[in-house]
Symmetry: C2
Subunit: 547 residues, 2 copies
Amino acid sequence: MTERNYQPGEFYDYPLIIKKLLNTPLIYAPDQEIVYRDKMRYTYRDLNERIHRLANALEKKGIQPGDTVAVFDYDSNRFLEAFFAVPMMGAVLQMVNWRLSADQIIYTINHAEAKLIVINTDFLPILETIREKLDNVEAVVVIAEHGTIPETRVAIDAVYEEMLADALPEYAFPDLDENTKATTFYTTGTTGDPKGVHFTHRQLMLHTLSAAVALGAYETIGRFRSDDVYMPITPMFHVHAWGLPYVATLLGVKQVYPGKYEPEMLLKLIANEKVTFSHCVPTVLQMIATSPSAKACDLSRWKVIIGGSKLSRGQAKAAKSLGITVYTGYGMSETCPLISLSVPPKQMKDWDEDRMLDIVVKTGLPLPLVEFEVLDDDGKPLPHDGMSAGEVVFRTPWLTRSYFKALEKTKALWQNGWLHSGDVGHIDENGYLQITDRVKDVIKSGGEWVSSLDLENILSQHDAVLESAAIGIPDEKWGERPMMIVVLKPDFVDKVTPDDLKQHMKQAAQDGKLPKYGVPDRYEFVDEIAKTSVGKLDKKVMRRLYR
Amino acid sequence: MTERNYQPGEFYDYPLIIKKLLNTPLIYAPDQEIVYRDKMRYTYRDLNERIHRLANALEKKGIQPGDTVAVFDYDSNRFLEAFFAVPMMGAVLQMVNWRLSADQIIYTINHAEAKLIVINTDFLPILETIREKLDNVEAVVVIAEHGTIPETRVAIDAVYEEMLADALPEYAFPDLDENTKATTFYTTGTTGDPKGVHFTHRQLMLHTLSAAVALGAYETIGRFRSDDVYMPITPMFHVHAWGLPYVATLLGVKQVYPGKYEPEMLLKLIANEKVTFSHCVPTVLQMIATSPSAKACDLSRWKVIIGGSKLSRGQAKAAKSLGITVYTGYGMSETCPLISLSVPPKQMKDWDEDRMLDIVVKTGLPLPLVEFEVLDDDGKPLPHDGMSAGEVVFRTPWLTRSYFKALEKTKALWQNGWLHSGDVGHIDENGYLQITDRVKDVIKSGGEWVSSLDLENILSQHDAVLESAAIGIPDEKWGERPMMIVVLKPDFVDKVTPDDLKQHMKQAAQDGKLPKYGVPDRYEFVDEIAKTSVGKLDKKVMRRLYR
């Protein structure tokens, strides 16, 4: 019953550890379902048993407290099982971004000192090319969801489902120190080696509680509560799918994991499983919204947090026209990730669509236990006037303590007791944060700052524009001038000229939405915009291309 | 901006302190109202300013971190201000139960080493009789809500509102260690000296977050969210009004403080201020429900947690007939206090009234981060079968670490790493706890346990019964036999006999709701039932009387 002997009068110093989170759904919703595509369906009771089996199996394979277990998988129930079992036994879960280059994957696995790999057979071709270069990996477990294991040079130690079936269904998870490291993954900068961020049990627990309060106890347009049905559409390897699988589990909601992101399958799951709550990047929203099946699907109960890149007004309006409730969530790999939500407060409920769109595309209000400021060049906080822009800095209980084994980078991250985001933004008198740029992407024209996000947002409101990116290109007179890289909607190709778009931007400047010097001179039409492995605009590549 | 210098790369170890809770409502709901009776009305922005002024004023009166400030007041905005200002400056808030005897009040104030007293002028007559015996009190601040200060022998150092008006509106609240003691008060046992319980910043913060999730993010009949209007009707001196003023503040809801509990004023506030969420003991619910104005008042939006004593089925039904949503909350002074809520899970929403009544009168399901068990005489957990009764024990992050300066009592409280409640109960297969008795009140007839709460609950369903108490009286043959002490409803006095009630109990035994040996032999009609200072049945007094 207790893990150790307690003296009479000695109190139990209840730790904030992930094991404790699991108690609530097992009482409130033991029979609630967890679904993986059209392939698997079980209850929270089963989830709990599989977590216990997984821990036993990993222990048998030599995993000890402090060891790292790396997982390569699509969004699945297996990943969810690892979210709990690995940290609960005192080990560290590494979520591997399989979209990285082979060299980067080798780097991250060696840097994290992963000892065991759990991998979907679909990714075995990657592992095959890098296996020999992995310094600490002693065992490979495969997830064979297609039933068979393809021929491979990789030595395979176990098959996931067989390993679970063979393991005991009871494991005595220890009472860990709440500051024990629970998870790690690597951020995908556009320069240098990936940087390892990491989170403790306490950090994940407080992130979960705060998000549950912000999304559940506040009356807003985008609530997430025990009667919702949850399906993440941001990768589970990326900041634990924004930490929301932990919130979903605490609430005991039905959870649906979609595997790969195929628009038809996603829409099918939304319809058949009655999904009401998701989160994704703008590109995925667009992919779903423009899918042929979307119009036939009732999306009026679907609430979606958009993050990763800025939700444009045009995208929000298009989603709204399909009945989808969208709003912005903001955070970074370094922040676990949730920092803010653009949920309109109660008094805004009756606002008309136009005013609501202005709110939902904002970066948002801080979650409980989140503080942010914008700093000037001297590190002093700027006024909350909706104008004064500077670097955005954070304090919350769930920020990575450091970049793992990277002291110099950590020194740039944590300055004066604030985490420095590398984002530029301003805060208005109501406390709304608005990110306007990355520090490194900001365009400086004639000494004035031009926000690339503002430019992209205004251009997205032109009927012909599917997607755009603003970058600064060197200019002899002004230092830099903004230019736009544009993907047109198929119907408008060859029907719209750069000058049409420039007229649109000029009009915006006349309407006071943009300074005059901010109107870009150059508009380049392309078929596709360069993106990073997690789907963000890759401006470094674009700047090189158009310089 | 920061409280101390941080080295480059040094992270900010965000503490769970009450100061941080206040940030959220100031952003989400700065203009929301806080109301005190028909006497005062201001915004959260004002609350924040008054908290800063109060801290400055207390510091000027010599209050330092670690000092104790004792407050004697009705439920008011002043108490709410003290809930924040005193702990936020690192001092300890003592909530004084002014219903205790003069000797007990002297004991608690001296034992807590209170240095300053804030007192409503209504309570000056008490202070007058005890002032000389208070060892550490250096200053007395009066709350003069009637405008004038009555003549008194007590030396008065300041008047609350004047003191605030004179103080500076900015105070640099420190970043405390989250394990700093924040609040203390004394439990009112029926034997021995009052026992001091105490809670830290971390404990209050986690209690607040968990309660906000349980009441907000779960779809239940009794939710508490940002669009509710809150009015506590359990004293703020008693376990910080169940900690719910902290939850209300986090949510930024409108808060209404009723002062003294006068039924007409309470109903007026419910109607005029549109109160939707409260909590009280059964006696107060009954007082309100039977008030002449109740029928004219629309109570259909009013949700009330009932705690302190068992909510009987009869009371729940009567409340329901007035449109009130009631359910049970359970906790103790030692537990901060919330442990469980009888909120029916989602799948029960469509149940008929009878089945719902069975649920709402249960002790309930644990809040997130709460664990409970029932133990047999050897300290082993009993099966969750809805039958096996034993002492109820708890683990959560918000249990008092000890009885202050009372090692022997603490040794009885904390055994084997579990807080021992002194309550007897059982847990059913769905995880619902049901308290059936106090360990010391349990009736042992012929070696079998008879639950006094079961007897009271069954008898409450007789039309004639307003209130009842079951006690064990010595019996030569059986050891003890149960007897009932009964208050009849006014219309039934002289029309109902003890034998009528015995028939009712016999019928319940025939229906399987009660063991046959549990049917009481003796039924004593009284005008009033003995109660403790916080309104609980005082069975010690009754046992002495009827032995």
